[in-house]
């Protein structure tokens, strides 16, 4: 008594009540009384918010005016964005001399150029590029932003940085075009492919030395006008503080996290104490502590300027937060990895550096980016202790005579700027998460 369907039934499109816009609206918005009520309430909220903000922020707003009085004259109910517009330079650069702004911009461009190869395909030795960006770029940037006379040390570092950035860019271009690295390209160019390794190495070293000497001579005559750190402000200052914080938080966090997992009791106890201490305190307390205690800690006559104090405090604080993130990542790595590494003869540092850390870092990247976002937002706290970062500048607008009493518009502008930056960063981190998890198969338990 077999029942057999000879012809397979062709698939039919879903009924209108299911697919299409009507179906979607019905299912997602109105499929029960409570949902209908929620939908109506939400629509009302959206309408009120958008129309209110839209009218205040756009249609009634004043974009250009001389002062607040004029704003009111033009439009009483609208937002007075003119104050923000006229302070735009301050908001982004602080009180940096306008004639020297090109230095700040150059520093930013150099960083982008330096870091860009990390995202390009077919470029090798990305780790070296990344490390050089973290350890060498700051010297170049520091000199660009501060200026003044260069001592021997500074001259050397600037030279190294110049050679690095030029080399990186060349290397990236060669990599993208031909897939080779810079040394390979040079060897090929000089037709020394058949030469012995030693000769090749010597030739490359020779080229490197010549470049370094040439760069040194070149920069000896360059000098920039001194711009004191007190003039640094606005978004520029925010990025400097958070940039240094980000660059040192990750290495510092890794060291602390490894220390916390160490078998050596003293190191473990010290790491845990430091981490727990900083994590239990609010950042503002740490900043206050830094500004009151650092003058006492330093020997007589040695003065750390406020910016350096703040940077040290921020770096220490966020190293501890990063340590917890790193610890989480390390815990996610199965102990079998360490055992396997030991069986092929790796000692502690080799295991950590070559086997465990690379895997752990990949797992942790979303959390690391999250901590970076947090760091960026928390730099606003330095405005409380008198450093004019972007929030400080925005609040200063209301103290400026032509714009006295203008509070909301600058704050909203700051909120929007931060929102855009943080939102992009968190979207990128989610993208990274997806990209890395598809390539990374976890073993089944």
């Amino acid at each position: 008594m077999a029942i057999v369907t000879k012809q397979p039934t062709p698939p039919r499109p879903a009924p209108l009540s299911e697919s299409s816009v009507i179906g979607w609206v019905r299912i997602n918005l109105f499929n029960s009384w409570m949902n209908t009520g929620l939908t109506l309430a939400s629509l009302y909220i959206v309408y009120v918010a958008v129309s209110g903000l839209g009218v205040w922020g756009f249609s009634d707003a004043v974009w250009v005016a001389k002062d607040r009085r004029e704003c009111f004259a033009i439009s009483v109910d609208g937002a007075c964005w003119a104050g923000v517009v006229s302070w735009i330079d301050n908001i982004f650069y602080g009180r940096y001399p306008r004639a020297e702004l090109w230095r700040v911009n150059l520093g930013g461009v150099l960083l982008i150029v330096w870091m860009a190869p990390l995202w390009l395909p077919r470029v090798k030795a990305k780790i070296f590029i990344g490390l050089s960006a973290v350890f060498i770029y700051p010297f170049l940037a520091g000199y660009l932003f501060t200026g003044g006379d260069k001592g021997i040390f500074m001259q050397t570092m600037v030279t190294v940085a110049m050679v690095c950035v030029a080399g990186n860019t060349l290397h990236a271009m060669i990599g993208v075009i031909s897939g080779r690295s810079l040394p390979e390209f040079l060897i090929g160019f000089l037709r020394m492919k058949e030469a012995s390794e030693k000769n090749q190495r010597n030739m490359l070293l020779g080229i490197l030395s010549l470049t370094v000497i040439a760069a040194y001579i070149l920069q000896m005559n360059w000098s920039l006008e001194t711009v004191s750190w007190t003039k640094w402000g606005g978004m520029f200052l925010t990025l400097v503080i958070s940039g240094i914080g980000i660059a040192s938080a990750l290495p510092g966090g890794i060291i602390l996290a490894l220390g916390r997992r160490s078998k050596l009791t003293l190191i473990r106890v010290l790491s845990i104490s430091v981490i727990e201490m900083f994590r239990s305190l609010p950042l503002i307390t740490v900043l206050f502590m830094a500004t009151t205690m650092f003058p006492l800690f330093m020997p007589e006559g040695f003065v750390l300027n406020k910016l350096v104090q703040v940077i040290i405090a921020v770096c220490l604080f966020y190293a501890c937060y990063m340590a917890e993130t790193v610890r989480g990542g390390l815990q996610a790595i199965a102990p079998g990895q360490q055992e396997a590494a030991h069986t092929i003869g790796f000692g502690y540092w080799k295991t950590m550096g070559l086997v465990v850390m690379p895997q752990a870092l990949r797992v942790m990247i979303p959390n690391i980016v999250g901590t970076f976002i947090q760091l960026l937002k928390d730099t606003t706290l330095v405005s409380i202790i008198g450093l004019y970062d972007i929030l400080g500048m925005l609040r200063a607008i209301s103290q400026d005579t032509p714009w006295r009493g203008l509070y909301r518009e600058p704050l909203l502008f700051g909120a929007i700027v931060f929102f855009i930056v943080c939102f992009i960063m968190s979207k990128y981190s989610r993208h990274l998460e997806v990209k890395l998890s598809t390539g990374h198969k976890t073993g089944n338990e």
């Binding site: 997602n28 918005l29 330093m298 609040r395």
Partner: protein, 452 residues
């Protein structure tokens, strides 16, 4: 084999002489470890009997070249010793600098200042304090209590608000879910300091003047909002009020008894009892009834407008309100994400299985989903509480007298004693943080899912 060792002995002895050159800065260190090494070996080699040395060498399994540095025990000791020296040196350096600097600047030390009287007044305080008589320690207490007060209220508020927003985020209604998402994204991507200042300057400074206070109690004039704060009536308990308080305690005990009885009843005959409704009724009716019967012995100190200000009642400053709102809204966004993650972490199969045996969806939520979701929600929730307390220190930006602004800033500027004040403030935060960590560990241990 054994012949090699006397050579090693000699070799090291020679090296010892070489190493003692005054030009090498490491000479003292090399000297000490070399001598240690030599001593060790001399003990072994000094035995004339080759057999003994064989046996001893078999015991300690020497390699062809005994690699001093690669021995695990030596390394471990060395690392820790060096770390201890480095840390110790740094600490000694800082301490000596500090004491020297304090001396040079004529700053005093010691905790004695805590008993001297502070010269300034604090607007918002929970304890009796008279300027000129109250001590700096009182100031410290006031600061701590103020911090805890605003944090406590913010925690309650953000838990409730965050829970609802989290549930909304999970709802099948697309519009509400996206609205909740927008809220969460905006709040989380804006710095909290900006939000605190915005609430203070952007909202609470636009409140009307005292004369035109907004009446939030719909005409009863007991809840008045103006730009000096929120004025409300404070209770003045009469003679027989203690009876109502006793009735309340009795009602609370009654709720526990009721729960126990209703569970037992359900075990026995199977019918569930509406415990929630009954408990609420008990808590409302028993103290309420006693209150009415004793003639409503509660008077209210109603704020009345006298001149330019309100007299009587209890008032919350605008800085407090702004901080409270900012903290609540900011933390609610974070808590909403935790709630959502926690509920999503419960496998869909669990609710499938519960539905498949015929349970109503509401029961499924209460008996199966939420108990398991709590495991994922509670630990980050507890650390969120700590974050609320830490964020309350932003009071310093808007002038609310919490422990950081009152003690670490004002008092430090007035009295000096930087090290002691910093230490006390640190102690406050670290104590609370340790308590909360202990709480979290206790909770984690208790709700561990039992596995093989």
């Amino acid at each position: 084999m054994d012949q090699g060792r006397p050579d090693v002995f000699t070799a090291y002895a020679l090296k010892l002489c070489d190493g003692a050159s005054p030009h090498s800065g490491l000479a003292p260190i090399r000297l000490s470890y070399e001598s240690l090494h030599v001593t060790l070996w001399s003990i072994i080699v000094a035995a004339n009997d080759a057999e003994t040395t064989n046996k001893v060498s078999a015991l300690i399994k020497p390699k062809e070249h005994f690699d001093f540095f690669h021995d695990e025990r030596v390394r471990s000791f060395l690392y820790q010793f060096l770390t201890a020296c480095a840390v110790g040196w740094v600490v000694w350096y800082l301490v000596s600098n500090t004491s020297h600097n304090l001396e040079v600047r004529g700053m005093n030390t010691g905790f004695g200042f805590l008993t001297s009287s502070a010269g300034f007044d604090v607007d918002f305080k929970f304890i009796e304090y008279i300027p000129g008589q109250g001590t700096y320690f009182d100031i410290f207490l006031i600061g701590c209590l103020n911090s805890l007060f605003v944090s406590g209220l913010a925690i309650v508020g953000c838990t409730i608000l965050g829970f609802f927003i989290g549930i909304l985020r999970l709802s099948s209604n697309w519009l509400s879910s996206k609205l909740a998402l927008t809220y969460i994204e905006i709040i989380r991507n804006t710095p909290i300091l900006v939000q605190v200042i915005f609430w203070y300057i952007g909202v609470f400074s636009f409140l009307p003047t005292v004369k035109n206070s907004v009446d939030l109690s719909f005409g009863a004039e007991v809840f008045l909002l103006n730009n000096r704060g929120l004025n409300m009536a404070s209770p003045l308990p009469g003679d027989l009020f203690w009876l109502t308080q006793v009735a309340f305690v009795v009602a609370v005990i009654g709720v526990f008894v009721l729960r126990y009885w209703s569970h037992k009843r359900q075990d026995d005959i199977g019918k569930p009892f509406p415990t929630l409704i009954a408990s609420s009724a008990l808590l409302a009716i028993l103290p309420g009834g006693v209150y009415l019967l004793t003639g409503s012995p509660l008077d209210w100190d109603i704020p009345t407008l006298q001149g330019f200000n309100f007299v009587g009642g209890f008032s919350l400053p605008p800085a407090f309100l702004a901080l409270l709102f900012a903290l609540t809204i900011y933390s609610a966004a974070r808590f909403a994400e935790m709630v959502r993650a926690g509920i999503l972490s419960v496998d869909k199969g669990q609710s499938d299985a519960a539905l498949a045996i015929g349970m109503r969806p509401s029961r499924v939520m209460v008996l199966v989903v939420i108990p398991q979701a709590m495991r994922a929600i509670v630990p980050p929730m507890i650390s969120l509480w700590m974050d609320v307390l830490k964020n309350s220190s932003l009071a310093i930006a808007i002038g609310y007298a919490d422990v950081v602004s009152l003690f670490m800033q004002t008092t430090l500027n007035q009295a000096g004693y930087a090290v002691e004040i910093v230490a006390m403030t640190m102690a406050f935060f670290m104590t609370i943080s340790l308590t909360i960590s202990a709480l979290m560990n206790y909770y984690n241990k208790r709700i561990q899912l039992v596995e093989r």
